[in-house]
């Protein structure tokens, strides 16, 4: 009897220690998660909060609004985007808006163009067998994917010379062409995976109904490929929006994009922290929103082909 109780006591004790271990483990996991969440969020928080600080608050490292420092629209006023200055004319705001517009047009334009070219090629590669000289489908796919390894710096200087001759220097169209090229491999990769997941029987049924190859593609397959297209489009958008290297070399006044504007401000002497912070916040805000609300598409775009 006594041995029995002692045995059940050890079992209980062991169970108790296991539970303690479990709780410690949980705490470690959540501690690590919270730590990394802090690492990810603090730079963003710091930038956003700095755009509401005056010089003293920056130098003294005040962090918490209303407690540490009194928030003020200072940074936003300096780029003409605060509530009291938004209705008045403002040169910095005009400059900002034109850069913003350039960024929107180039990134949306390039993503759309890449989506059109990439979807067509991906559909072809997924459904038909091509032979181009010695190249088969796999070689053609590799040819497209191999564009990824090309560092921008290799293309930048030839493009500078070519664009000068073509009168495409400092134009949005010129940037769109280049950005299309940088995202095209990724679009083809995602869309080929998407088309491969759509059963070929659907195409065949469409042929039986008398549709041509293009009719089947446009009317039957393309509507089913919308999730892949959304993922490819959003991923391209992010990459194009953040692109700096080509924009810095190939634009000067008219077609400058937001990253170039942000970079040119950091270079100048005696930067105003609050206006830089406001500018950075405005430049990253669209993508932070994309990241929060369209995370699903970005993840599905990035993980194409992984884990299979």
């Amino acid at each position: 009897m006594s041995t029995l109780t002692s045995a059940s006591a050890t079992v209980r004790k062991r169970r108790g220690s296991r539970r303690a271990k479990h709780i410690v483990g949980r705490m470690l996991i959540y501690g690590a998660l919270l730590f990394w969440a802090f690492v990810c969020l603090f730079p963003i928080y710091w930038t956003v909060s700095t755009s509401f600080k005056s010089a003293v608050d920056v130098t003294q490292g005040h962090l918490i609004p209303w407690l540490d420092f009194q928030p003020d629209w200072k940074g936003w006023r300096s780029i003409g985007l605060s509530p009291d200055s938004i209705l008045r004319t403002s040169n910095p705001r005009d400059e900002f808006m034109s850069r913003f517009e350039n960024s929107v047009i180039t990134s949306v334009g390039a993503s759309l163009l890449a989506l059109v070219l990439g979807s067509l090629a991906a559909y072809g590669l997924s459904r038909f067998r091509y032979k181009f000289a010695w190249m088969r489908n796999d070689d053609i796919l590799f040819f497209f994917m191999s564009q990824l390894i090309l560092p921008p710096v290799v293309l930048a200087l030839p493009f500078l010379v070519l664009y000068k001759a073509l009168a495409l220097l400092d134009t949005r169209f010129g940037l769109i062409l280049l950005y299309t090229l940088t995202v095209l491999p990724i679009v083809i990769w995602i869309m080929r995976d998407q088309f491969n997941s759509i059963p070929i029987e659907l195409d065949e049924a469409a042929f039986v109904d008398g549709l041509s190859v293009w009719g089947a593609f446009l009317r039957i397959i393309l509507p089913l490929a919308v999730p892949g297209m959304a993922a490819a489009f959003i991923l391209s958008l992010v990459l194009c929006w953040n692109e700096y290297f080509f924009a810095a070399l190939l634009t000067s006044t008219d077609a400058k994009t937001l990253p170039v504007m942000v970079a040119s401000q950091t270079g100048s002497q005696g930067i105003n922290w609050w206006s830089m912070a406001a500018l950075s916040t405005a430049a990253i805000a669209p993508l932070v929103l994309v990241g929060i609300f369209l995370e699903r598409y970005i993840v599905s775009g990035l993980t194409t082909g992984a884990g299979k």
């Binding site: 559909y123 067998r129 181009f132 290799v154 970079a263 082909g305 884990g307």
Partner: protein
């Protein structure tokens, strides 16, 4: 242009009457021929105009672009006329191929030509041929070799990024609350532009006098928290920023791999009495190896393009300690307008990358995830 497609659809199209077909084929060939001749003619006129042989021509080369576009359309129409059904199929691939040839293949070949020129945009005399002089100058350029050495460090740092990302992926794969929240938060740095990150972290958080990171370092006992003064610390700081932006990318792909992991295998390991650490090293890690190698190679490819952060935070300093090849070439062009030499450096770098990646792919191809 030899694009043909195997018949895979069971002949659903009706063959056209013979004579009609032959006439259409001839018309198609004629269209392509006329378009090609027209394009070549425009090109010839423009070349002669530029060299000053003839008066007629265009002020810039833009019409050549339009001519290429028209020729591409004619080629597409011609394909359909000559090959019918198979031409229609070729039409799917043709736009992307023609686009890539125009904006990648041609400029890269043009780059090889520029690389053999002595061409400084700021000097009055135009380009002139100097053969392999750029290549010889390159071998004596200590800054360039220094930048290549730095690339070695940055590339090796990918392993550290991978270790952190793997840890985060494992954390996200455990049974936790608010997983969606953590996943979105961990993904956010990937969304931010490297230029904005340069300012947000490099120039403000790590600011020597009152940046929060410097304040934290002081309170931890580092008297002189200059993140960009000592070569090794500067390299580390630059890489930390790049890692901050790109760890989410590795993490997301590893997480997808972990979620596709067969559950039975882990349970079997548990039944066999393996603890967490053992089951990770003997089960999870080996199964994840193909995904890991794939993501590492993709990450290395992107790492080799690293430039934005270096250009904006340190401009290569101190003394070239943080320079990447791209940022160095950027300055060769920006500060010295040396197009010929800069292109030479870039082309040499491209050749190095191709050799390096070929070896890497050859070594890992058996272990890699089947890509194509």
């Amino acid at each position: 242009m030899q694009i043909s497609a195997a018949v895979a659809d069971g002949g659903h199209h009706k063959p056209a009457p013979r004579p009609n077909l032959a006439r259409r084929k001839v018309a198609g060939r004629a269209l392509v021929a006329i378009a090609s001749l027209g394009g070549l003619f425009v090109l010839l006129v423009q070349i002669l105009h530029t060299t000053g042989t003839i008066r007629a021509g265009f002020t810039d080369w833009r019409p050549i672009l339009y001519a290429y576009l028209l020729w591409s359309i004619a080629l597409g129409v011609g394909q359909v006329m000559i090959r019918g059904e198979r031409g229609l199929r070729a039409l799917f691939l043709l736009p992307a191929v023609l686009f890539t040839i125009a904006v990648v293949i041609f400029p890269t070949l043009f780059g090889f030509y520029i690389a053999s020129l002595d061409w400084n945009l700021s000097s009055l005399e135009g380009p002139h041929f100097n053969g392999l002089d750029n290549l010889i100058a390159l071998f004596n350029d200590t800054y360039y070799w220094n930048a290549l050495g730095n690339m070695l460090f940055y590339t090796l740092a990918v392993l550290a990024e991978y270790a952190i990302a793997f840890g985060l992926a494992l954390l996200l794969n455990t049974d936790i609350r608010a997983r969606k929240f953590f996943r979105v938060v961990f993904l956010l740095p990937l969304m931010l532009s490297p230029v904005a990150v340069s300012w947000m972290i490099g120039k403000s958080l790590m600011e020597y006098r009152f940046g929060p990171a410097a304040t934290l370092a002081r309170s931890l006992g580092w008297d002189n928290p200059a993140f960009f003064a000592h070569p090794w610390i500067a390299r580390g700081s630059i890489d930390a920023m790049d890692a901050w932006v790109s760890i989410p990318f590795i993490m997301i792909i590893l997480l997808a791999g972990l979620q596709a992991l067969p559950k039975e295998v882990l349970e079997a390991a548990k039944v066999d009495g393996a603890n967490g650490w053992q089951s990770f090293w003997h089960v999870t890690f080996p199964i994840m190896l193909p995904v890991s190698i794939t993501v590492l190679i993709i990450r290395i490819i992107f790492k080799l393009k690293l430039a934005d952060i270096v250009i904006n935070v340190t401009a290569g300093g101190p003394g070239g300690a943080t320079d990447t090849v791209s940022s160095f070439i950027y300055r060769v062009y920006r500060d010295r307008s040396n197009v010929g030499y800069g292109t030479g450096l870039a082309i040499f770098y491209l050749l190095l990358i191709i050799v390096f990646l070929s070896v890497l792919l050859r070594l890992t191809s058996r272990r890699m995830q089947k890509v194509a």
